[in-house]
Structures are given as C-alpha cells and as structure tokens.
Amino acid sequence: MSQTNSEMEALIAGEYAQGFITQIDSDTFPPGLDEAVVRAISEHKGEPDWMLQKRLEAYRHWLTMDQPDWAKIKHPPIDFQQISYYSSPKQSPKLESLDQVDPEILATYEKLGISIEEQKALAGVAVDAVFDSVSVATTFRERLAEAGVIFCAISEALRDYPELVRQYMSSVVPHKDNFFAALNSAVFSDGTFVYVPKGVKCPMELSTYFRINEAKTGQFERTLIVAEAGSEVSYLEGCTAPMRDENQLHAAVVELVAMEDAKIKYSTVQNWYPGDHEGKGGIYNFVTKRGDCRGDRSHISWTQVETGSAVTWKYPSCILRGRDSVGEFYSVAVTKGYQQADTGTKMIHIGENSRSTIVSKGISAMQGSNAYRGLVRIAGKAENARNHTRCDSLLIGDRCAAHTFPYIEVKNPTAKVEHEATTSKVSEDQLFYCRQRGLTEEDAVSMIINGFCKEVFQELPMEFAVEAQKLLAVSLEGAVG
C-alpha cells in the first residue's frame, strides 16, 4: 500500500512540474496543497475575487500553525500533501445495483429501516427513474422560496448572494481560529447556506430536503446559517446510515448567526466509517462548529449524536452575546472498537442574563475512548449569567475509557454555574435482570442505553429520535460480553 502511495506521489509530482493548469480540467485534483491548489479550487467554482483572497489569507495563516495536540486522542500524523483537495461528486464510482454493495452495509441499512431508494442513494448506486427525487426537491424549493428562505449550496450562494455570504462568512469562526478552521477556510469544497429573513419561521425542517439531496457530504464542508430577527429554523445534517467515503480527513466549519429573538436548532447525526475491527482506516473528523447569539433573546441549540468516525474532535459552541440569549448543547457520543472521541462544547457568556445548558452523554464500549471537554466562560459584563452542565459517562465492558475535562472561568460574581457528572457501567447484574424478565441481551442493552440518552434524544426532531435509537442499538450490537 505504501509503495503504491509513493509511486502515485512520484507520478503526481512529475505532472506537477509540467504545470497545474492542465490539471484543473479534471474532476479530481491530485494530492497536495499549495497556493496553486487554493487558487484552482476558487477558479473551479467561479468565485468572486474577495473569496479567493480570503482563501489565500487563510492558507498563508495555516502554514504558520501547528496541528493541535491537546485533545485526548492519538492518531498517526496526517500528511496534508497526501490529500486531494477537490473532488467532484460526479467522480464517485456509480454502482449498477445494490448487489454490488457490501452486504454488511446492506444489513445495517436493513436494520435501520431505510427504504430501498434511499439505500441506493446512500451506497452510491445509480438511482433509477422511479425514484423521483427531483420533483420532491422542487416542491421543497418552492415552499421555501415562498417563505423567502434561501437554502442552497454555498458555491451557489457565492454566485447568487455574494454580499450576504461576504457579510457573515468567517464572522463567527475567523480563519485564524484554529488549525483545522484555517485549513477549511482555505480549501472548503462546498457546503450549505441558509438565510431566514426577518420574522420568518422556516416552513419545514431543513432535514427532509437535505436527506434526499445531499447524501454525500464533502470532505471540507462549509456551512453558514443566518437567522434574522425573530426568525426560526431547524436544520439537521447527516444521516443514521453508515456513509461510504474514501476521504479520511474531514474538517468542516459550521457558523450560525442568530439575531434578535431568532432561534436556530442544529442537529447532527454522524455515522461515518469508524475503521475496521482492528482500528484501521476510519474517518478523522475535526470539526469547528460555533453559533453566535448576536441579538438579544436569541437562542441556539446544538444536538448531536456521534457514533461514527475513528477520531472525533468537535466542540459545537455558543457565543452568548445578546441579553437573555440562550445556548444549549445536547450530545450523545459513542465510541467502540478503537474509536476515540474528544468532544464537548464552549459556552461563552457575554450578555446579561444569558443562560446555557449542557447535557453530554458519553458511551464507551470495547476499547473505545470518550472524552468530554467543555468550557463555560462568564465574562465580566455577563450579569446574572447561568449555566447548568450535566455530564454522564456510561461504560460497557472493562477495556474502555471515559474522561471529563470541564473548564470553568467566571469573571462576574453574580454568575451561577453548576456542573454535575456521573460515571456508570452497564453491569452483568442489569443484563441478567432484564433477561430474567424475558428480554434478549441486545434489547436489554438498547433499553439501558436509550434510557441513558433519553434527555438528548428528546431534543432531536421526532423522526430522527426514533432512528437515532435504532442507530445506537445497531452501533452497540455485539459490544457487550
């Protein structure tokens, strides 16, 4: 394998010498990153010049940065010159029928109750004409347009609404924020833009549409959601089905802006490839997600169910700038096999009477390692700020690990900050008890796990709460005993 890689490298290096221009006509760039690649991505997408300048600025800054090493995760160093930074979705190999898909994946789809059409879309099988996704999507688009909601690819937004994007992009996560955010700012391939005008309640969950159209997520995704004063929107990314993806490194950036009285609910279900039984392969997921409660009484709520990836590094955060603004973080993170997760949140209280709630549920099984890392910062101006944190860990078996790293910084004496943490274990006694009452071991585990995660699941949109429950049961199958 390594030999093939170095051969490839040599081949690519050779081509590089002859100039890059010929390369940009192809749909996939060769591995490697330099200014020419950044320029090529921007050009490929027909972006305005300011965007290119932003990318270049980010890229140059990224060169001066080091990969962070403070997280409770271990992985071989990432060679950023081995990665291809642009790949058109058209390039992904199309299979002719489900018969060509890995039966193990199909079995999982089956257990999750995913329809045949969706299975095909997810597994990358050419979808036949019977599945009329286009017309469904068009209906959704019409309804959104009627309400004045913009919901499109970020590259489309850069073309059609450049001023809106320019105003808000990088205003929450500046490109200098961290190593992976800088990388994303330089090379992001695509992503989603949502704009909800003043006073508009988005007429539908943006998940439904998403699931039909965007089954395949990019490697360096960029999402920007802006909710104007008094508006409301609920967005769900990801999918419970295991995602086939050849890219090992994922570094997304998500920015949310909530103006006065606006409410954004952002839910994630992440189930990317976690690696094989020996811990080989699997996605490295380094994500920067941040919401800015810019207006008074604004409200941002993050809910995440993280069951996939070999490495998860992710801290969806809220900057509570507005008075009486509210930030919430509800998380279930599962690590099994050799999965590692270092995840949590940051609640930065600046506005008076700002309130935040953190509910984190970490489940570790087999050799999985799960860390909660959370920062609650109450700034000097934040009179009467409040935070409540609840952080629970559940262990299955005796080879897994759970860690909790709470950081609390309080600079205002009127603040109320509470932190509760528990660690428990799915015990032999519990399983025996359930089985003695007629339940199978699998049902018993799933019942105990779902009980443990209940507070988080009830924050998910209804249909997904049910799927998330099934997902957890499937994820932890065979993890006991």
Partner: protein, 250 residues
C-alpha cells in the same frame, strides 16, 4: 413441572451444591430454608441461568425440557420467574415501559400479539394497588432510588403482571418490616393457583407465617438434609439449624 436430580455445582472451583434433589408440581408451594451460605441463592440463580456457576453433574428438567440448556431469557419466556434478593436499578429505564417490554417479550415468544395500551394500563394500576406500590413509582426509573420495601413490592408487581408458571422468590422477605412482609406475602398468596408452582427461599421462618408452604426443605452444606411439612419450619424456629447440621454430619 420441575425435577432437580443430584445437582452438583461450584463457583470459582468451590463446590456449593453437592447433589440436590427436588421435585415441584403445579399448584405446590415449596419453602427452601437453611443457614447462610448453605447454597439457597446459588440454587435459585442456577435455575434462572445466571452466569458464573459451573454445573458438574446432575440434571434439571422443567416442563419436559433440559432447563440447563436454555438461555436466561428462554427460561423466562417459558414462565420461570425469579424475584431477586437484590433487585437491580435501571436508571433511565421507565418502570412501566420496562414492564410492558417484558410482557411483550413473553407474548412474542408465545406467538401472541402485543398487549394493547388500555388493558395494560388497567392491569398495571390495579396490580400496583394490590401490592401497595405507589403509582408514582411506575413512572420512575426501574428501582432507581426505591427503598428496600419498594423494590420488593416492585418485584411482586412484575411477578403478578408476568404470571409465571414457576415462581422462585429468593429471600424476598429479607430487610422488610412487618407491613411490607405482609403485603409481599399477600401478593404471593394471590398468585397461588393449581397451575403455578412456587419456590420460596428464605432464611427465617417468619415469612411462612404468611405464606403456608406445602413442603419445607432444609438446605445445608449444599444438600437437602431434611424435607417435611409446615411443622418442620416451626421446629427450625424453635431449635435453630444446629441440630439438623449435626444430624447431617453424623
């Protein structure tokens, strides 16, 4: 319905049961008494299929099947119920949902449809009243934060709902005050029927003031050293276990 023949079993290489024989027929209530460490709970656990015990010889037939070959949940689904000495807490698992899941698992195994919500609710409320279990506890997590008495009442409620063919009560009386003991005993007596066998494992005679067994067995040093009627229990109360142990040793 249950026939135990020459059952020998050990834990971590230590022999606990040394040839137990016991025969239980439908409609009978058997009491198994004995000093601490005599193997009473081990016997109950082996019948329910708990891990960690090695059966080295002997045989257990239950409703015509080799019981020891069945999985824990299969035994439960075939009507074997164990009321535990230390009922386990299941944080986050709603008590009522748990009961319903358990009932449906049993029904599914018997090829019956799931119980409908209305009749389930009616039944569970009525039976909770009978065992004097506060209705609020039905909405809480299974046994989580329950008092000792509440946990035992909850066990009896589960037994009443699941309507087992063979019920084994493992030291259900331990740690109960006299009122709770009466309620638990009432619950057991209400379940006595021609079709149902029961094994009541207890250290003290006092439970047998309320549950009148058809047969009393004394388990000591891993063997049933004496079997008799209710008067055997009274004799034990008066004289303790010492004399029986001496006789057995002789």
């Amino acid at each position: 319905m249950l026939a135990i023949k020459n059952l020998t079993a050990s834990v971590d290489g230590k022999e606990i049961l040394r040839g137990v024989d016991l025969q239980v027929e439908p409609g009978e209530v058997h009491a198994i008494m004995g000093p601490n460490g005599s193997g009473k709970s081990t016997l109950a656990h082996i019948l329910a299929g708990r891990d960690g015990y090695t059966v080295s010889s002997g045989e257990v037939r239950y409703l015509g099947e080799d019981l020891l070959q069945l999985e824990v949940e299969e035994r439960a689904q075939k009507g074997l119920f164990l009321a535990m000495q230390y009922p386990v807490e299941l944080p986050g698992v709603n008590n009522m949902s748990f009961l319903r899941e358990a009932m449906n698992a049993m029904r599914k195994a018997r090829g019956e449809p799931e119980i409908d919500t209305l009749s389930f609710m009616k039944q569970v409320k009525e039976k909770a009243r009978q065992v004097k279990l506060d209705e609020k506890l039905l909405k809480r997590s299974v046994n989580a934060g329950f008092s000792g008495g509440e946990k035992k009442r909850n066990e009896i409620l589960q037994m009443a709902m699941l309507e087992p063919k063979l019920a084994i009560l493992d030291e259900t009386d331990s740690g109960l005050d006299i009122d709770a003991l009466r309620t638990v005993a009432d619950g057991v007596n209400r379940l006595r029927s021609k079709e149902r066998g029961m094994i009541v494992v207890t250290h003290y005679q006092r439970l047998l003031d309320y549950i009148h067994p058809d047969k009393v067995h004394v388990l000591a040093n891993g063997r049933i050293v004496r079997s008799g009627g209710k008067d055997l229990a009274l004799q034990l109360e008066a004289r303790g276990y010492g004399w029986l142990l001496e006789e057995a040793a002789a």
